[in-house]
């Protein structure tokens, strides 16, 4: 009885105990009171997001009762308007929007229940299954890809931004000037080239990019790496008779690089701009000159001073970067034929008008973004003295 009650309301207890723990720690720690503050703020934002998402899904045509009845209709049953109405009442759809929202939120906070998908005829949690994790991993991988390119090249770009094309220093000899000019031009050209390539990621919409790559496969006469696995591996378990199926892993990697590459590339352009702006900002500050004056130079100077100080704001934006990458994912999923939650989202929105499923996915994305923002805020307050000073005072 009690165990039933507890398992029905497990999420609420988890949330409450986290809040309680934070509150307990916050009594004599400024830091934990900040964390508690952030935690409550995150929960409030989530509540607001759920409201917005829920209200927004109302614009999708049809409701669950209609779909259910329509489904029955295809099974050969005769349907009247009264049946639809009865079904509405049974599902609670005759209630007002706030009331339904309240029930949705209650179910969500009590046991993490995202509702019931009419089109799939199963609970949203079940329909999503691992697919949300799949999308999550795609986005993270895409982000890592973007960072791997954007950070070094953004720094390089910042490094060259205020440099001239030619070396006219009269203190240098003619040969030194020539070599200097060559080096400078090389840097500038490299910077320009990298910028063009990364902006191309923005200018070539990701669906086109995916199409182009698929086209190349077509021309090469090879099988297109759509989906996650090839036909032969789709239903093979990871651990077969001979232990772990390495072949399946290779096949998997051969497929997932495409979506990761596509969404990663389009995310790169923005990241590059951000990194460049941040590093340029920091490198113009006096402390960099002061460090130079102390004889710090080369990598130690760049890595230790402007770059090190640009990391925090970059880290701080991870949550929204995730949102931006996820934003691109649905279309890529359609083109490549993925079956992750982004594809489900597109399906739910534009084909089946499955309000509950779409709301569930959007809410989960928001949850991840807010969660990431919460974590970055808390971590930065712990490790970056500048942030600590601004949020906690001295």
């Amino acid at each position: 009885m009690i165990s039933q009650f507890l398992s029905d309301t497990w999420l609420l207890w988890v949330l409450l105990s986290i809040a309680g723990l934070l509150w307990w720690s916050a009594r004599d720690s400024q830091y934990f009171s900040y964390v508690l503050n952030r935690f409550l703020l995150a929960l409030a934002t989530l509540l607001l997001v759920s409201g917005i998402v829920f209200a927004l899904m109302e614009v999708l045509p049809g409701d669950c009762a209609e779909k259910y009845i329509a489904y029955k209709n295809t099974q050969g049953e005769m349907i009247t308007q009264a049946d639809i109405q009865a079904e509405r009442v049974r599902m609670g759809l005759d209630k007002s929007l706030p009331e339904r929202w309240g029930r949705w939120v209650t179910n969500l906070t009590l046991r993490g229940d995202l509702g019931f998908s009419c089109a799939k005829r199963q609970s949203v949690n079940l329909a999503l299954g691992d697919r949300f994790w799949m999308s999550f991993m795609f986005c993270i991988a895409g982000l890592v890809f973007a960072y791997l390119i954007a950070v070094p090249f953004g720094i390089l770009s910042a490094f060259t931004i205020n440099k001239p094309w030619t070396d006219n220093n009269p203190q240098h000899s003619k040969t030194e000037q020539l070599v200097g000019t060559l080096m400078l031009s090389l840097q500038k050209v490299l910077d320009l080239l990298l910028r063009v390539i990364s902006y191309l990621g923005l200018a070539l919409p990701n669906f086109l990019l995916a199409l182009t790559i698929i086209l190349l496969y077509v021309f090469a006469g090879e099988a297109m790496p759509t989906g996650l696995f090839s036909e032969q591996w789709r239903n093979v378990p990871w651990f077969g008779d001979q232990g772990f199926e390495t072949e399946k892993l290779y096949d998997f990697l051969g497929h997932i690089w495409l979506p990761i590459f596509v969404i990663g590339w389009s995310a790169t352009a923005l990241q590059l701009q951000t990194v460049r702006a941040l590093v340029v900002d920091e490198s113009n500050k006096l402390y960099v000159d002061a460090a130079r004056a102390r004889g710090v130079d080369g990598v130690a100077l760049w890595a230790g001073y402007p770059v090190r100080h640009s990391i925090s704001p970059l880290f701080n934006s991870i949550g929204f970067d995730f949102q931006r990458v996820f934003n691109d994912l649905p279309i890529v999923a359609v083109v490549i034929g993925l079956t992750d939650s982004a594809a489900l989202l597109i399906e739910a929105l534009s084909m089946t008008n499955d309000q509950e499923l779409a709301a569930g996915i959007l809410f989960l994305v928001a949850l991840v973004v807010i969660g990431m923002n919460f974590i970055t805020d808390v971590v930065l307050a712990a490790i970056d003295p500048r942030v600590r000073k601004s949020v906690l005072g001295n």
Partner: protein, 414 residues
């Protein structure tokens, strides 16, 4: 062009002793700084050319891009090249050749007698199949010369009737055309519509959607940021929580939901076009709204605003004379930087078939066709709009980049 070349050499410097420097406002200073960014200037020229050609698309297009102007004789046709010379000699006036459709020889009698082989040959010859390339015979003996400022179909050069003004200048001259028939610089699509002309028209449609969307975005952002920043306190807290909540939801799914809802309503293409622009603009207020709020909060504490207050200026005067002008350069730059993103949003929607649809000419619609395997394999020239699109976006990004460096709106100096 000379000016362009000149920039690669010695960059013109503003002389400090020049009175024009002293009497130059903020915008002219930004302009002067911008002119020193070579990549930005080049991109600005490309962008300007594209936008101008888009705006006066009817004038620059040799062929009517609608179904009216479709060339029934030249469907699925490859680009027609323009030459100055060939084996038969040089000509100052560029010319093209005459293209005629290759006739498939169909053995009707064999077909009538029911020979399966004949039917096989018939179907595989491509005469019926829509997925193969049409073959055209080039008659190199019949030159067709290009003509300039030719009379063609009538169009509106400038039409402000949409804006409620009674101004509609109509014209029928076009920059170039060709004698006997039509010229298809970039080939035609399956209906025989000219790709080159369609693309030109699409540029302006797409840009105008972006302009409407950005205008809506600006109004909403100004409202949110202004109210939040000016009133502060509780209003600010509430507004910013909502903004924060909107900010975490990925926008494209939201656009999608709205587009699906719009699809339910019976709208004319023009209404649909505006509805989509408004949706894209109205939901994108979060970032700019927040920035404007911060801007107002910092700017409000600037000494010159206090100075205006101590001079006896009323609140409205402070807002109108001091606060709003302080954003203008900022807003212009931000808008320009956001252009590519809005255009991408439009193309994404069109790509999913939820934005604009055929027969409207928008870059999104033209881009969507690129995913058709038939086009990928048989009509590769239909990728021309893709090329234009990439150029357009790149030009916007580079101009935006250079302008941001010139105006530096994001580095708030304390």
């Amino acid at each position: 062009m000379n000016a362009l070349l000149a920039r690669f050499g010695r960059k013109p410097k503003l002389q400090k002793n020049d009175e024009s420097y002293y009497t130059a406002g903020q915008l002219s200073l930004i302009k002067a700084r911008f002119k020193r960014k070579t990549s930005g200037v080049v991109a600005a020229w490309i962008l300007g050319t594209l936008v101008l050609m888009g705006f006066f698309a009817p004038f620059f297009s040799p062929v009517d891009p609608t179904i009216r102007g479709a060339d029934a004789e030249y469907r699925r046709g490859a680009p027609q090249a323009v030459y100055f010379w060939d084996e038969s000699g040089f000509s100052l006036r560029p010319f093209s050749y005459t293209y005629t459709k290759a006739k498939h020889k169909i053995d009707m009698s064999a077909l009538a007698s029911g020979g399966l082989d004949a039917l096989d040959a018939f179907t595989s010859s491509g005469a019926l199949s829509s997925s193969s390339q049409n073959k055209f015979v080039v008659d190199e003996q019949q030159r067709r010369y290009l003509q300039f400022f030719v009379q063609g179909w009538e169009y509106s050069l400038i039409d402000l009737s949409m804006a409620g003004l009674d101004l509609d200048i109509r014209w029928d001259r076009h920059l170039f055309g060709i004698e006997r028939g039509q010229i298809h610089l970039m080939g035609t699509d399956e209906d025989g519509k000219d790709i080159f002309s369609r693309t030109l028209h699409a540029i302006w449609v797409t840009i105008s959607i972006a302009i409407v969307a950005l205008a809506v975005k600006l109004i909403v952002s100004l409202f949110v940021g202004g109210v939040s920043g000016y009133f502060g306190g509780r209003v600010d807290t509430i507004m910013m929580s909502i903004t924060e909540a909107v900010r975490v939801i990925p926008p494209i799914p939201i656009y999608l939901a709205c587009a699906v809802a719009l699809a339910q309503i019976d709208l004319t293409p023009v209404q649909r076009y505006f509805a989509i622009a408004v949706v894209i603009g109205a939901l994108d207020f979060a970032t700019l709204g927040r920035r404007l709020r911060t801007h107002i909060l910092t700017e409000r504490n600037q000494d010159y605003v206090l100075a205006a207050q101590l001079c006896g200026s009323s609140t409205w005067r402070v807002i109108w004379r001091h606060l709003i002008p302080s954003f203008t350069s900022y807003i212009i730059v931000d808008t320009l930087i956001n252009f590519p993103y809005v255009i991408l949003a439009e193309t994404s929607l069109s790509f999913l078939g939820l934005g604009l649809t055929e027969p409207v000419n928008s870059l999104g619609v033209l881009l969507q066709k690129a995913q058709d395997p038939d086009i990928q394999q048989n009509m590769i020239w239909q990728f021309f709009p893709v090329l234009v699109f990439v150029f357009l976006i790149m030009a916007f990004v580079f101009v935006g980049d250079a302008l941001r460096d010139a105006a530096d709106p994001y580095s708030e100096k304390k």
